[in-house]
Symmetry: C2
Subunit: 279 residues, 2 copies
């Protein structure tokens, strides 16, 4: 299945058959004090630095999250989107728990973006899906609902189905629903890795949708996180993860390696091109 994202003129195709599309996670205030302080002054230099470094490292899409304590992100999110669009023509993934911020950002978006995210809660479905339909956006469906977070992969699949059905019912195309199987820290939940990998396999084989994931959470609180993130990435991609939200500066090598090993990179061209760009 192919999901198409657009910038002003650019186009990115997320294909369930690969190769992997990388959504850069780094425009996000969590643990980035300098981003918070500059954004507070409507100074977008740090945003630009993060955009440039991620695109150079292999990001195809940029996640944009400007949530921090005290911010009015219904104002700051569209302003940041406009600032990025002035300099870069790459599809965006607008990331906020606040439907008003999502709506405000959708009004200024060029092209076709990702919304991060809707989930299976009635409140979320009612707020976000009509916005996705109205603005012709692709929506990420996170597999939690009014009962909270389940650790049963079959239940997570059922929530994914519910989100898909509700989206289709209001006229959103199936390919414009991308599922996030929910990755939690294995340091907190010992079977978090296995549950997420099995959820990916189920969503991929039963629903055939494109799959994204905040892939760095899994290693939170553990040493040498890069090894955990790379190993998890490889397994998740084999099971059907097609567009991870991750730090391309750290894991593009592992992603290119995985595509190559899965026979999705003829003559190792993308792998070697990435390797050369790192020299």
């Amino acid at each position: 299945m192919k999901t198409i994202l657009k910038g002003s003129e650019s186009e990115v195709v997320i294909n369930t058959e690969g190769p992997v599309v990388i959504i850069g996670e780094s425009i996000n205030p969590t643990r980035r004090k300098k981003l918070v302080s500059t954004l507070s002054e409507r100074n977008f230099e740090v945003v630009y630095d993060l955009a440039t470094s991620q695109i150079e490292a292999g990001a195809d899409v940029l996640d944009v999250n400007v949530g921090f304590p005290g911010v009015d992100d219904a104002k700051l999110l569209p302003e940041t989107v406009m600032a990025i669009q002035e300099k870069y023509d790459v599809p965006l993934c607008i990331d906020s728990p606040n439907p008003y911020a999502i709506e405000a950002a959708l009004k200024v978006i060029n092209g076709k973006c990702l919304i991060n995210s809707v989930n299976g809660e009635e409140k979320s479905l009612d707020a976000i899906l009509p916005l996705a339909k109205e603005h012709n956006a692709v929506v990420i469906g996170l597999v939690m609902d009014d009962n909270g977070i389940t650790h049963d992969p079959e239940q997570r699949l059922r929530i994914a189905e519910k989100i898909l059905n509700r989206a289709v019912k209001i006229g959103i195309c199936e390919e414009d629903v991308v599922i996030d199987p929910l990755a939690m820290a294995v340091s907190a939940v010992p079977d978090a890795g296995a549950v997420t990998l099995e959820t990916i396999r189920l969503v991929s084989t039963r629903l055939g949708l494109n799959i994204t994931m905040g892939a760095s959470n899994i290693s939170f609180g553990l040493p040498i996180r890069g090894v955990l993130n790379s190993s998890f990435m490889a397994m998740a991609i084999m099971n059907g993860l097609s567009c991870p939200i991750t730090n391309p500066v750290l894991v593009t090598s592992a992603i290119r390696a995985t595509d190559l090993l899965l026979g999705r990179d003829d003559y190792a061209m993308r792998y070697i091109e990435h390797y050369k760009s790192r020299l």
Copy 2:
């Protein structure tokens, strides 16, 4: 399924459910000039260095290969085995294409070893399986036969079945057959990774046997091989690889990470223990 290997007093259990058992690959003359020159003089100091470094890095079993041009390995292999057994009580994997060398080594082995390897060729089955039976050894079955190497995973599965059936017919227990799905360089054969991963999945789900693999071949001829080896290792382990033959100094971190992510390492104890040993 559980396959039990033994040293003089030690025991290693290879379990299809994990965690992964590491077979150290480094006692092997390929690209190790100093090993060749010292072995030629029956000096085992380099062998000891390689044994120590691999065990410290996490090897549970040591592969022993002393094949190089001009060597009489029917003499040198048993001598090397005896030298290792004098200093280390770890199960061994005796590795030679020469049945006479295998037989000579089996005569001096303490415990229960691995034979690396038999394959589906009639000549190989006739020479190796009776030795495995006679000496109560575990045998690695490499999925090639008189027709050479196939790139069809279903055909590779059939060769694995043939080796298993022939072994069982002469009285070898099913659990004493470990399959090698054959990993070739993706630089030479673009679909080598995908074919091997699918063969592992088929052997695991249909035959339920333990699975080994010379896991470093896959990246031959490409840059930053460690990234390819680690990503391949993670995917192969998820599909059923239970006892890779690899360089523990380089990939034990990725293996421990993968076990942790698959929910096979309660409280991340083995992962953190390995991390601490590397400090």
